[in-house]
């Protein structure tokens, strides 16, 4: 009897030890992630600050002219900042309504094969590498815009907006569908049982119940759009103009990417500062995302 007990006690001790080791491993893996984030942040801040100092923060952020290789170089990144903001906003304006209605359709209305087809299509859209989006945009969209609007060059803010809008669709749709599908069916049943039609129910009960998830989807789309480099590099034209719809523009991301390989000195430092500004935007968006996700959790509890 007592020996048996002793055995189980030992067994328990052993299991607890294993538990603790596993716990430690997980903690370490988690800390690696945190470490990476910290390292990137510190590196970006350290390498991004000097140029801002030299150029002057105001001159850097609000200067309208970028001429990094001129005899008398100018390092104003307002064109990039505004291009990134306008480009992202445009993509959201185009992409969110399409993505939202598509999500409602997939989550609530579509059945069987059609639902499967749409979901696979969205999944595939998510898997397309951004260089392919850029390529198709370059071959189809850019000439299309040139002909349709009779502008000298189709590589423009408009082309970038359209490409970005399509690129953010899958994340918007997927996250919104997940949010809509996790609305408790009891809510919808209650609405239907009061004589609301299915469509009324989806828009007046399901969507409001999923709103924090849908908001998170939009913020995720914003994050994707503002951080995208490759595809916009191929369709934006890359001239550091102040943004207008039909002219070539340069984004924060492409500003870093397009000059990095041959830059040096202050120019190189300025590119790091641009990356820091971009990083700041992304952090802001992440904070917004966390805010919406947390609010969603609170609401459900």
């Amino acid at each position: 009897m007592t020996r048996k007990k002793e055995k189980t006690v030992q067994e328990n001790i052993r299991r607890k030890r294993v538990e603790r080791i596993i716990h430690g491993i997980f903690l370490m893996l988690g800390l690696i992630t945190v470490g990476c984030v910290l390292l990137i942040t510190i590196y970006l801040v350290i390498s991004g600050i000097p140029a801002m100092r030299t150029i002057g923060l105001k001159e850097f952020l609000f200067g309208q002219k970028w001429a990094s290789t001129a005899a008398e170089p100018k390092f104003g990144i307002l064109p990039f900042i505004l291009t990134s903001i306008y480009g992202t906003a445009g993509a959201i304006v185009l992409g969110v309504p399409v993505g939202f209605f598509a999500a409602v359709y997939i989550a609530k209305i579509a059945k069987g094969k059609i639902k499967w087809l749409l979901q696979s299509a969205v999944g595939m859209l998510a898997g397309v590498p951004s260089v392919v989006y850029g390529l198709v945009g370059m071959m189809v969209l850019v000439p299309g815009i040139r002909k349709l609007f009779k502008v000298p060059d189709g590589a423009s803010l408009l082309a970038s907006i359209i490409v970005l809008a399509i690129m953010i669709l899958p994340s918007i749709i997927k996250v919104s569908v997940t949010a809509l599908e996790s609305v408790p069916p009891e809510y919808e049943e209650a609405s239907l049982a009061m004589g609301a039609t299915p469509i009324e129910t989806y828009f007046r009960v399901s969507v409001p119940s999923a709103r924090s998830g849908i908001a998170a989807a939009v913020v995720l789309g914003v994050g994707r759009a503002i951080g995208e480099a490759m595809a916009v590099m191929m369709v934006a034209g890359n001239a550091p103009n102040m943004p207008t719809l039909f002219e070539s523009v340069r984004f924060l991301t492409t500003a870093v990417a397009s000059e990095m390989s041959y830059s040096s000195g202050l120019q190189r430092q300025a590119l790091f500062s641009i990356a820091l500004v971009l990083y700041f935007f992304i952090m802001l968006i992440n904070a917004a995302l966390n805010f919406f996700l947390k609010r969603g959790n609170v609401k459900q509890s």
Partner: protein
């Protein structure tokens, strides 16, 4: 079968040879039943005998289940509810439903109650205010929530949530209320409150209630229907069913010998 022996109310809902299948499984077998107006009818029977199925067929909520098939007839005030001319949303407006688990929307108390009327086109603020107050009073919860109309309904207690759901159902001025074990998730005090409420509602509404609680059926219902494995075994006035059931299986069930 009918239970109108001891009251002369007109029939409001009747079913004739109603069968419901889920794929190949038959959940209701030739159920014919006449339910009198402004009375409380209890549906009893062991789990899985088809009570919820029967209830959900009456306002066509079972249409939502893809694999469900129905044959036979259901008449509401003489109209066949499966006729193509029957507007389902209109039917459900007349035949409201309260569910087993309280399911208020994650919105304010006010918006919960105003949801139905708004859906049916009422926009005037004054009218909505009026409906909200009246519905909450009718559901005996006005005093408890009058200062909380703007708060999220999910913050109420379970019993309050269920009365809120009843108020919400009343707000579209239904004719019939279907209740599927409305007190099974509640504590005894809330249950008593809801039973009292149901007895009051009988004045103006026809109530059909599924219950697992024999005492509850006995306390509140006028007629009782006993289901077993999809069959309507016995249906009659509650007094008779509970004192002198004519079927052995009914007796076994209400005396707790199975189920």
């Amino acid at each position: 079968m009918n239970a109108s022996d001891n009251h002369n109310n007109e029939t409001i809902i009747s079913t004739k040879d109603l069968c419901v299948w889920y794929d190949d499984f038959q959940a209701l077998i030739d159920v014919s039943m006449e339910i009198p107006e402004k009375s409380i009818t209890a549906l009893i029977g062991p789990s899985g005998c088809g009570k919820s199925t029967f209830l959900r067929t009456l306002n066509r909520m079972n249409d939502l289940i893809d694999c469900a098939k129905t044959t036979g007839n259901v008449y509401y005030r003489g109209q066949d509810i499966f006729q193509s001319s029957m507007e389902v949303s209109e039917l459900r407006r007349h035949i409201g439903m309260v569910f087993q688990k309280p399911n208020p929307f994650p919105m304010s108390v006010y918006d919960n109650i105003a949801y139905g009327p708004r859906t049916h086109g009422i926009k005037s603020r004054a009218k909505l205010d009026d409906i909200v107050e009246r519905s909450l009073r009718n559901a005996a919860i006005w005093e408890e929530v009058r200062d909380k109309l703007r708060q999220n309904a999910l913050g109420l207690s379970g019993g309050q949530q269920q009365r809120l759901c009843i108020a919400r159902a009343l707000a579209v001025q239904p004719d019939v209320l279907l209740m599927d074990e409305p007190t099974s998730a509640l504590d005894p005090i809330s249950t008593t409150k809801i039973e009292e409420l149901i007895l009051q509602l009988k004045e103006n509404y026809t109530i059909i209630i599924v219950t697992h609680n024999m005492q509850q059926a006995l306390r509140i219902s006028d007629g009782t229907a006993f289901f077993l494995l999809g069959d309507l075994i016995e249906y009659g006035s509650t007094d008779v069913i509970f004192s002198t059931p004519s079927d052995k299986r009914t007796e076994d069930y209400i005396t707790g010998r199975f189920g």
